[in-house]
Symmetry: C2
Subunit: 212 residues, 2 copies
């Protein structure tokens, strides 16, 4: 069946919907109204209805949405049944943490390589991975299917690394470097800017203090 692609703003809410639907299932709730789900999600009921209608899910008057059906449908859109291969570029503390994070594999994201340029790190084992030299990445990418590269390098290396790996065919970057990456249009970038998030938090507590 041909499907309209789900818009990226809706996609951005899907993991949160999925998380709430998983909790609902766990406590044995089989159906839920858009109003109740909206309340859990801190959005409006009409937003919920609109989001779900974009991928063909409609609630029934007096019953709402079927939790199991919606859960599975969203899981399918999120591609939770697919295994994706990820590599990590940069084996500093953040790269280490990403390599050790067991939740990723549970959700279908398997880390198959980690790279750095610092000779003292090469060969070090993190779980069942060995840190490889970045110079060997061309060979690695020729031999392994890689869907996502997580970027955890220092800011001054980021531009060069991104040019290099996208030149080798990497199409999706999970970016932990606090800067905007310039890439071709066919490369998808998803940013985690830790410092930005911390600054927002700092600013919000400052505001609260001022109000008192």
């Amino acid at each position: 069946m041909a499907q309209k692609p789900v818009s990226s703003t809706v996609i951005r809410r899907l993991p949160k919907y999925y998380r709430h639907l998983t909790s609902l299932r766990e406590i044995g709730i089989s159906n839920i109204s858009s109003k109740d789900l909206a309340k859990r999600m801190n959005i409006t009921a009409s937003q919920v209805k609109q989001d779900f209608s974009t991928f063909g899910c409609y609630g029934l008057q007096g019953y709402g949405y079927d939790v199991d059906f919606l859960h599975d449908r969203i899981g399918e859109i999120l591609g939770l049944d697919t295994t994706r291969h990820m590599i990590i570029i940069g084996a500093g503390s953040l790269g280490h943490a990403l390599a050790r994070h067991t939740e990723f594999e549970k959700r279908g994201f398997k880390v198959i390589g980690i790279f750095d340029t610092r000779s003292e790190l090469i060969g070090e084992e993190i779980g069942n991975l060995k840190i490889r030299h970045f110079d060997t990445i061309t060979e690695f990418l020729a031999q392994n299917k890689v869907d996502i590269a997580a970027l955890a390098v220092p800011e001054n290396h980021a531009k060069r690394v991104v040019e290099y790996i996208t030149g080798l065919g990497i199409k999706a970057i999970w970016n932990f470097v606090p800067m905007k990456l310039i890439t071709d249009n066919d490369v998808t970038v998803e940013n985690i800017h830790l410092i930005d998030s911390l600054l927002v938090l700092g600013c919000q507590i400052q505001d609260k203090t001022k109000k008192i």
Copy 2:
């Protein structure tokens, strides 16, 4: 001077503005139009003008905004001149990475403690921090001013830990646990949901593949 508090949606864009203004300063640009800044930020010029007007910054016809002034004003709103004390709850791989992240201190966020309950971790040194037992946190909070608690514990511990630390007066939580934290209204929570972000990325590459 009494000031209107800056709205949280505007606050959320401030770190990004600050980053772009820092880059502009570095390359010696002293003034910029809302249009050019908007282009760098991937938003509209009217959004830029509206955002800046909320904290009393207006551009001049034919000149635009003064980069230095705007940079310093936003830095001031973000509280970059203030030092905040942060503790980390959970000394797993993510907690370790957060404790080792040198960028936080550069931006005024000083990690002064890290806690866990696993006896094999207690006493381990990370930089100049020693992992402390979570049982000692009451005493620690009585003796130290703590502004932010970064939460990097397993999901099944999160609820209990949050109840406990907010009961001890913690008012700001930087949450790395992939769940919605239930807190009192006077507690500010800022979420980093790594798995959500990865799922969004996975979903977007899947969509692109389908379109081809």
